[in-house]
C-alpha cells in the first residue's frame, strides 16, 4: 500500500530529499561537520561549553595501545567502547560488568578480552568510520539507568532524540528497546518510538515498526503516560548544542543518568526522518515556522520557552488516537 504525495505534503511530512537540500545543506556548514562526526571532538567541545556528557575514561589511538586497554578498564564497573567517527550507532560495544576474563554485554552474553581487542583494532582501522578513514576508539562510562527510566525499556538505556533547528528544539522522541529489537534502540529493528509533547515531555503518539501502539509489547507500559523527568533541562541541553557547534539542523541524542541527570550522548548532523513516524506528524510546519523567524534568540532558555509555547498549538500536533485501538502486537507487519 502506498500513500499519495499530496497526503504527505498535506501532513507536512519532510522527505529525505528536501531534508538534504533545504535543511542539511542550507543550515549545516561543511566545515562544522567534524565537530559532530568525531565523537571525541564533540565530547571535548561539550566539556568546554559545560554540557554534560558521559565521562571519558580512555582514548585508544594506536594499535599498540590496545595492550594497555585491559589494565586501564580493570577498575571500571561497566563501560562503552565507541568508534569516534562512527555513525548510526555502528561499532558501539557496551560492557555492563566484568568478571575475571569475561566481559558481559547487557544481553548477558560474555565476550573475551581478545574479542574486545579485535573490536578496538577494527575501530582503529576505520571499519566503522565514514569513508573508512582511520579512527580512534573512545571508552567512556556506562550510563546508569535512572530508576524512573529503567522501567520504560525492555533492556538497555532509553534515549531521547531531539531535533534542534536554528537552536530551537522542534521535535522530540523517546526510543525504547524491545525484545524484538534485541536491546537496540533502532526503530527499524523493532524498537519503540514515542513522540514527545515538546511543551510537557509527555508521550503523545507511539509506534513500533511504524504502526501505532499504546503499550510496550514486553512490559505492557502505557506509552502515552510516559513523562520525561527534567524535561526543560533536556530541551535546554539540546538547544545549547546549537551554540556549541553552530550547526543549524542537528539531532541531539540525550540520556538520563541516575546520578548526573540529562547527558548528551552524541550529535548527528544528518538526523533521520523516523522521528516523524514516532510523532505521527510531519516536521515541515515546525521547521517552516522557525525558518520564518527573523532573528534567533540569543539565550537557549528563551528559545526553549518559545518552542514549548509555539509547538503546543494543536496545529502542530498529531491527530488524537482513535478511541478503540487494536491490540498491540510485537509481530512485524509489512
Amino acid at each position: 500500500m502506498w500513500v499519495k504525495p499530496s497526503f504527505l505534503r498535506h501532513h507536512g511530512l519532510l522527505g529525505m530529499n528536501r531534508r538534504n537540500v533545504q535543511y542539511i545543506n542550507a543550515y549545516n556548514s561543511r566545515d562544522l561537520y567534524p565537530l559532530v562526526d568525531d565523537k571525541l571532538k564533540t565530547k571535548l567541545l561539550a566539556v568546554e561549553y559545560d554540557i554534560a556528557t558521559p565521562t571519558l575514561r580512555q582514548v585508544v589511538r594506536a594499535q599498540h595501545e590496545i595492550s594497555h586497554f585491559r589494565d586501564r578498564v580493570k577498575d571500571l564497573p561497566g563501560f562503552a567502547i565507541k568508534p569516534s567517527k562512527g555513525s548510526g550507532g555502528k561499532g558501539i560495544t557496551v560492557i555492563e560488568r566484568q568478571d575475571g576474563d569475561s566481559f558481559f554485554k547487557p544481553s548477558g552474553s560474555a565476550v573475551s578480552i581478545d574479542h574486545l581487542s579485535r573490536h578496538l583494532s577494527n575501530i582503529l582501522s576505520g571499519l566503522y568510520s565514514l569513508g573508512g578513514k582511520t579512527d580512534v576508539a573512545i571508552i567512556e562510562d556506562l550510563i546508569v539507568n535512572d530508576p524512573d527510566f529503567a522501567k520504560l525499556s525492555h533492556q538497555g538505556v532509553p534515549d531521547i532524540r531531539i531535533i534542534v533547528f536554528r537552536g530551537y528544539p522542534v521535535m522530540a522522541m523517546l526510543r525504547l528497546a524491545t525484545q524484538a529489537s534485541d536491546g537496540k534502540a533502532n526503530l527499524h529493528q523493532g524498537a519503540i518510538g514515542v513522540g514527545l509533547d515538546l511543551s510537557t515531555g509527555q508521550g503523545l503518539h507511539a509506534v513500533q515498526y511504524s504502526k501505532r501502539v499504546r503499550n510496550h509489547p514486553d512490559t505492557g507500559l502505557a506509552l502515552l503516560e510516559i513523562q520525561i523527568p527534567d524535561w526543560f533541562e533536556m530541551l535546554r541541553l539540546a538547544a545549547r548544542c546549537y551554540d556549541m557547534t553552530g550547526l543549524g539542523y542537528i539531532g541531539a541524542d540525550l540520556v538520563v543518568d541516575k546520578h548526573r541527570g540529562p547527558l548528551l550522548l552524541e550529535l548527528n548532523a544528518r538526523p533521520g526522518l523516523a522521528i516523524q513516524v514516532a510523532n505521527g506528524v510531519g516536521l515541515r510546519p515546525r521547521l517552516e515556522h522557525i525558518e520564518k523567524l527573523p532573528r534567533v534568540k540569543e539565550r537557549a532558555v528563551d528559545r526553549v520557552k518559545y518552542a514549548m509555547d509555539v509547538f503546543s498549538d494543536p496545529h502542530y500536533l498529531p491527530r488524537p488516537l482513535a478511541p478503540v485501538a487494536g491490540p498491540t502486537s510485537t509481530k512485524r507487519v509489512g
Binding site: 500500500m1 502506498w2 500513500v3 499519495k4 504525495p5 497526503f7 504527505l8 505534503r9 501532513h11 511530512l13 522527505g15 529525505m16 530529499n17 528536501r18 537540500v21 533545504q22 594499535q63 555502528k90 561499532g91 581478545d114 581487542s117 579485535r118 583494532s121 577494527n122 582501522s125 576505520g126 571499519l127 566503522y128 529493528q189 509506534v207 511504524s210 504502526k211 501505532r212 516523524q276 513516524v277 505521527g280 491527530r319 488516537l321 482513535a322 485501538a325
Partner: protein
C-alpha cells in the same frame, strides 16, 4: 525562485548546447543518430591495358570528380613501377601514371571507393559555358540538323525541353529521315550534343558507368550533359530520362579524352565494381576529415583508447541510473557507486555469467570471511587476505568454466577485485550488526541497480549515442543537476510513511 533562475538557465543551456552540437555533428559529419544505419559503398576499379614499346610511358585517365549522387571516399592506384599522381588540368581531374621505360603488356589499376549520397552535387562551374556554335556538318547533314532543331524548337520552351524533344526525335529515327541521316555516322549522344550546341544550348558528352554489383569488364556509356539554369543536367540519350539515373556514376564530365597513352598502343580501359554495405558508423570512422569540428570526434584516437572511451563514456549513463534510483526512487545500495562498477563488469562479462560469477564470488567470499573473523586479524590484513582469496576464487572459477567449456568463466576477471573484497567485508559486518535481512536488502539493492544500469549502458542506442555524440553527456549532466535539486518525496517514502495515513 529568483535565486534558482540562473541554475535553471544553466541547465537549459546545457541541454540546448548538447542538442545543438549533436545536431551539428549529425548534419555536418553525417554521423548516424541510430546504430546499424548502413550505407552503400561502391568499389570501382578501372583497369588500363596497353602495349608499351620500350619508351617512356605516360598514361593519363580521366577520374571522377565530385560525381553527382556520390562522394569519393578514398582512391588508390596499383601499378608496379609507375609513378602516380592526380592532377587538375583545365578543371578536369586526371590520374597520371609515368615510367621511364616499359616494354610489353602493361596493366595499371585505379581503384576508388564511393559512397552513395543523394545530396552530393558537383560544384557549379565558375562561369557559364558557351555553346560551341556551328558544328562541322556535311551539306546534307547540316540541312537535316537544321530541320530537327526547328522541329524540336516548336514544341519546347527551355533548354531541358529542347533536349527532351530532340531525344524523342532521334529515337524515332525510323519515321524521321533527318534523324536517320545524322545517326548513320554517329552515336545518339554525339548527335544530340552537336544539335544542342548548334541550337545555342551548351551541351557536352559525359561518360557514365552503370553500377551493378560484381560486374567486370564494363565500359562507359555516353550520356549528354545539358547546361541549364540549374547547372549541368544529365540526359540519357536512349530514354530521355533527365537527371542522373540511380547507380549511374558519371566518371568523366566534359570534353577531353577518357584515356591518353603516350608510348603505348592498343590501350583499353575496363571497369569492374563491387557493392558493399558498410555500417555508416564505420564510414565516419574511416573518413578523416581535417575540418575543425570533426577534430572532436573520438574516432581520431587510436583504437585501443577508443575502446576505453567507449566504456568510460557509458559511466555517466550508469551514474544517471544510480542518481535516479537513489533520489527519485529511494533504493538502498551498499556503497554509492558500486552498482556502476558492477554494471561495467557486466558489460564485459554479459549479464547472466556476470551475475552468477558475482553472486558466487561474494557468497564464497562471505563464507571464507566468516572463518577469517576467527583468526583475529587486523582489518587491513583481513581485507588484503580477502583480496587474495577473491582472486583465488576467480581463478578457480575461470578454470572450472574452462573445463566445463564455458569460456565466460574467464571474464570474471573484469570485476574490480578490491571493491569486491571491501563489499564482502562490509556485508559481513552488516550481517553481524544488523542481521542477514539488511545484507540481503542492500546486496540485492546494489545488484538490482547494477542490472538496471547495465541494461541502460548496453542498450545499443545508448552505447551508440554516448560514443558518437559525447556532447549528449551535457544533457545527462543537466538531468543529474536537476535531480540534485529535487526536493519532493522519494517513491520509497510513499511506502515508508504509509502508516501515517491510518491509525
Amino acid at each position: 525562485m529568483n535565486k534558482q533562475l540562473p541554475f535553471y538557465l544553466a541547465v537549459a543551456l546545457l541541454v540546448i548546447a548538447g542538442l545543438a552540437i549533436a545536431t551539428l555533428r549529425h548534419n555536418e559529419l553525417n554521423v548516424p543518430l541510430t546504430p546499424g544505419v548502413e550505407q552503400t559503398v561502391w568499389q570501382v576499379e578501372a583497369k588500363i591495358e596497353f602495349q608499351a614499346y620500350g619508351d617512356p610511358v605516360t598514361a593519363s585517365l580521366a577520374l571522377p570528380d565530385q560525381p553527382p549522387g556520390f562522394r569519393v571516399m578514398s582512391e588508390q592506384s596499383a601499378s608496379p613501377g609507375y609513378g602516380f599522381s592526380t592532377i587538375q588540368k583545365g578543371g578536369i581531374r586526371r590520374g597520371e601514371w609515368s615510367i621511364r621505360r616499359a616494354n610489353g603488356r602493361q596493366t595499371l589499376y585505379y581503384k576508388v571507393q564511393l559512397i552513395t549520397d543523394p545530396s552530393a552535387t558537383p560544384a557549379p562551374p565558375e562561369q557559364p559555358p558557351v555553346a560551341t556554335g556551328n558544328s562541322y556538318w556535311s551539306e546534307p547533314e547540316a540541312t537535316a540538323a537544321e530541320g530537327l532543331i526547328n522541329q524540336a524548337r516548336e514544341t519546347s520552351s527551355s533548354p531541358e525541353s529542347l533536349a527532351r524533344e530532340l531525344i524523342k526525335l532521334l529515337n524515332n529515327s525510323e519515321s524521321n529521315q533527318n534523324a536517320a541521316l545524322l545517326l548513320a555516322q554517329q552515336s545518339t549522344a554525339e548527335v544530340l550534343v552537336r544539335l544542342l550546341n548548334q541550337a545555342g544550348v551548351p551541351a557536352r558528352i559525359s561518360m557514365g558507368l552503370q553500377l551493378e554489383d560484381a560486374r567486370r569488364n564494363q565500359g562507359l556509356l555516353a550520356v549528354a550533359d545539358v547546361y541549364t539554369k540549374d547547372g549541368w543536367i544529365t540526359f540519357d540519350p536512349r530514354t530521355g530520362d533527365q537527371d542522373t539515373p540511380e547507380n549511374l556514376l558519371l566518371w568523366q564530365r566534359g570534353g577531353s579524352s577518357l584515356l591518353d597513352v603516350l608510348g603505348g598502343r592498343r590501350s583499353t580501359v575496363s571497369f569492374s565494381m563491387l557493392q558493399q554495405t558498410v555500417p555508416a558508423q564505420d564510414l565516419v570512422q574511416s573518413q578523416s576529415y581535417e575540418s575543425g569540428f570533426s577534430r572532436f570526434s573520438l574516432y581520431h584516437l587510436p583504437l585501443e583508447e577508443q575502446g576505453m572511451f567507449k566504456i568510460l563514456l557509458l559511466l555517466p549513463v550508469g551514474a544517471l541510473v544510480v542518481v535516479f534510483m537513489r533520489i527519485i526512487v529511494g533504493f538502498r545500495t551498499s556503497g554509492t557507486f558500486m552498482p556502476i562498477l558492477i554494471a561495467v563488469a557486466f558489460l564485459q562479462t554479459s549479464l547472466v555469467p556476470g551475475l552468477i560469477s558475482f553472486l558466487s564470488i561474494v557468497a564464497v567470499g562471505l563464507l571464507l570471511r566468516g572463518y577469517l573473523s576467527r583468526l583475529n586479524l587486523l582489518l587491513v590484513a583481513r581485507i588484503a587476505t580477502l583480496i587474495i582469496l577473491v582472486i583465488f576464487i576467480t581463478s578457480f572459477m575461470a578454470l572450472l568454466g574452462y573445463e566445463l567449456g564455458i569460456s565466460s568463466g574467464m571474464t570474471v576477471t573484469f570485476f574490480p577485485m578490491v571493491i569486491i573484497a571491501w563489499t564482502i567485508e562490509r556485508m559481513s559486518i552488516l550481517w553481524e550488526e544488523e542481521g542477514a535481512q539488511e545484507v540481503l536488502i542492500q546486496g540485492f539493492g546494489s545488484l538490482f541497480v547494477a542490472v538496471l544500469a547495465f541494461s541502460a549502458m548496453q542498450w545499443r542506442y545508448i552505447s551508440h549515442l554516448s560514443f558518437n555524440f559525447p556532447e549528449l553527456h551535457l544533457i545527462i549532466l543537466a538531468m543529474v543537476l536537476l535531480m540534485g535539486q529535487y526536493k519532493g518525496y522519494r517513491l520509497s517514502e510513499l511506502r515508508r510513511f504509509r502508516f501515517l495515513a491510518k491509525d
